[in-house]
Amino acid sequence: MSEATPAIVVENLSKRYRISQGVAAYRTLRESLSNLAMWPLRRLGRLRSGGDGQVQDFWALKDLNLRIDTGEVVGVIGRNGAGKSTLLKILSRITRPTTGRAILNGRVGSLLEVGTGFHPELSGRENIYLNGAILGMSRREIAAKFDQIVQFAEIEQFLDTPVKRYSSGMYVRLAFAVAAHLEPEILLVDEVLAVGDASFQRRCLGKMSQVSRQGRTILFVSHNMGAITRLCRRAIWLDRGQVRQSGDAETVVASYLRSGAEQAGEVMFHDNGQKAPGSEYIRLEAIRVRGSDGVVTATLDVRRPFTLEVQYRILRRTSNLRVGVRLMAHDGTVLLSSTDMDQNEDLVREPGVYVSRCTVPGELLNYGQYFVSVGCDFPMVRTHFAVDQGLAFQIEQTGGAGGHISDGRGGVLRMSLPWTVQRIES
């Protein structure tokens, strides 16, 4: 009977955000006053046009239903904007749902950010108390666990130094240490393990699984599929604010990774009228990414090569035509440009449909999102089309160099470099 008590029940939960076009979420008084004055006019306008047009609704969650039993450790996965963070924010009572309800049985602790409320001017010791209180611990509780926290964070010598002088590693260790000693019955964790060095991350994961063995319920949001499968027995895959799949973590993660195929991975340019980019010589038809198995997908395995494809129709016989791709990191940094003229210099193309493709080796790019721009020109003479960031794809954390440690190492490249370790002195 006791096993049947659910820790979290979510019923028809929805959250709507109002996105006004190009306007900040907070208003200025002037706008509100003028809105007030304009109200009768707008009412008339709305009656006529049947809509406001200015404000768009975005449903971060839509009729979400969940049931999580006490003691379960559940991973929540999904693409950016799928509603993962919104769900945690509602469950931790930071924001209210628009409709529906959620019932939580037990004391809730949420860890949406490492070091919430840390003050840079205060010392490590002072911040432990402050942060503990913010996370919901009583002064007695913090005092009782103080030594454990300091030990876990390994900051004994710097206890009385302002945290602004801490290295980022020390800062994160201290922040996590406080949070890890919070003892709620329900712990909500959002992507906090993406920081910190590898050995500390292992200890965090260890601490979390220890917590789960004590019968606590954990809801864990992460993009790190390795951490999800290691830590959670069950996973929930959110997609556009709804549960797409829920069940055994390995199964859900696997189908989530496979689903990349349905998520774009291909952009088609239909040639109705003059819409497809191009000229009288050429029309762009499609851009695609294919995984190593040849399937069109936007989600790639870091270890395997993948192929970028540009499909186009030649309308007139051409020579000296160049089709190229440009690969960009998520922040827009151009990583490389490559064209089909690099290897075939004197190609003559008769009218027809063509595909230019190039292969990017595996174990080259790090986890993350990438964009592809495509272009076509007569070099130095004329550009036929240029499509910036026409396609996005994601390289997923599935292993590769250093993949056994889920340490979110930085950098755009993630190659396996030949290392030697040599003893040069004894």
Partner: protein, 289 residues
């Protein structure tokens, strides 16, 4: 790793402790809500830590440190004494003790009001990342101003001693007026902090309001007896009554009870309105701050 570990054995014990907790039910809410005083009480330690943080941080990296709490009202007093008392010869304003006994409570009110008003927007990180009763933020800002007041009071005592002024029973009124000043600052501050989340215009309103309000509070720099205004006019600005009563209680003068009563009623009402408005909009803070 250990995700298939034995959890059933220990789970039972945890559930006992979970069982006697009433479940938290999260609903859309909205509209006017009662003040959840019980919850605020449960988070009283957080309130304490927020005050403690504000006090600790306020004068860090300043050379003069906490002395600033004293320098500000002292300089204001000097400026008013010199400008109004000596130059413009406003009757009564040529006494530094008279001015300081008005500037001291005023400075507390103004500091508390301004920092409470800015508090929620300045705590954006906290508000969007963790749950706690949001009222704790502006209330803590008022609490931190109390410490400044205490420091600045030292100068008041130092000014009173050489004159041999011994406060009478009227001194009992001073703490009451002080609490009312806190209620006044909290009421206006809470209201402004909530408005500022939705309308950033109030960032500019706050300093202007504080400055304007000082000039409108005639009793800070003019003796009540010299003001030929009816209590009705004076109670339009409830700060007049509080400042006059504070000074009267301290310097053993007759306390303007009618004015004090009217001021208290206005500010208590304002405080209640401020808190209820805050409650009404606080759920949207995390979405729009």
């Amino acid at each position: 790793m250990n995700r298939n570990g034995p959890k059933q054995e220990t789970a039972a014990g945890e559930q006992v402790s979970a069982a006697h907790l009433t479940p938290t039910v999260i609903t859309p809410g909205g509209g006017w809500q009662a003040l959840n005083l019980a919850e605020l009480w449960r988070f009283r330690e957080l309130l304490y830590f927020l005050i403690w943080r504000d006090v600790k941080v306020r004068y860090k990296q300043t050379v003069l440190g906490a002395a600033w709490a004293l320098i500000q009202p002292a300089m204001m007093t000097f400026a008013l004494w010199f400008g109004l008392g000596k130059m413009a010869r406003v009757p009564g304003a040529d006494d530094p003790l008279f001015i300081y006994s008005g500037i001291l409570p005023w400075t507390f009110f103004a500091t508390a009001l301004a920092s409470a008003g800015n508090s929620v927007v300045n705590s954006e990180r906290l508000v969007t990342k963790v749950y706690f009763p949001r009222l704790a933020v502006p209330l803590a800002a008022v609490g931190a101003a109390v410490v400044d007041f205490m420091i600045a009071s030292v100068l008041l005592v130092a000014m009173m001693l050489p004159r041999g002024i011994v406060p009478g029973v009227g001194l009992l009124v001073v703490p009451v007026v002080f609490v009312l000043l806190g209620v006044a600052a909290a009421g206006v501050g809470v209201l402004l902090s909530a408005l500022m989340v939705a309308y950033r215009d109030f960032r500019y309103v706050v300093p202007f309001l504080v400055q304007f309000w000082l000039f409108a509070t005639l009793t800070v720099y003019t003796p009540l007896s010299r003001l030929e205004l009816s209590p009705w006019i004076l109670s339009v600005n409830p700060m007049c009554g509080l400042i006059a009563s504070f000074r009267a209680g301290l310097l053993n003068e007759p306390i303007p009870w009618a004015l004090l009563g009217a001021s208290s009623a206005s500010f208590v009402l304002l405080f209640v309105i401020g808190c209820f408005y805050f409650r009404r909009v606080e759920d949207s803070f995390a979405d729009i701050v």
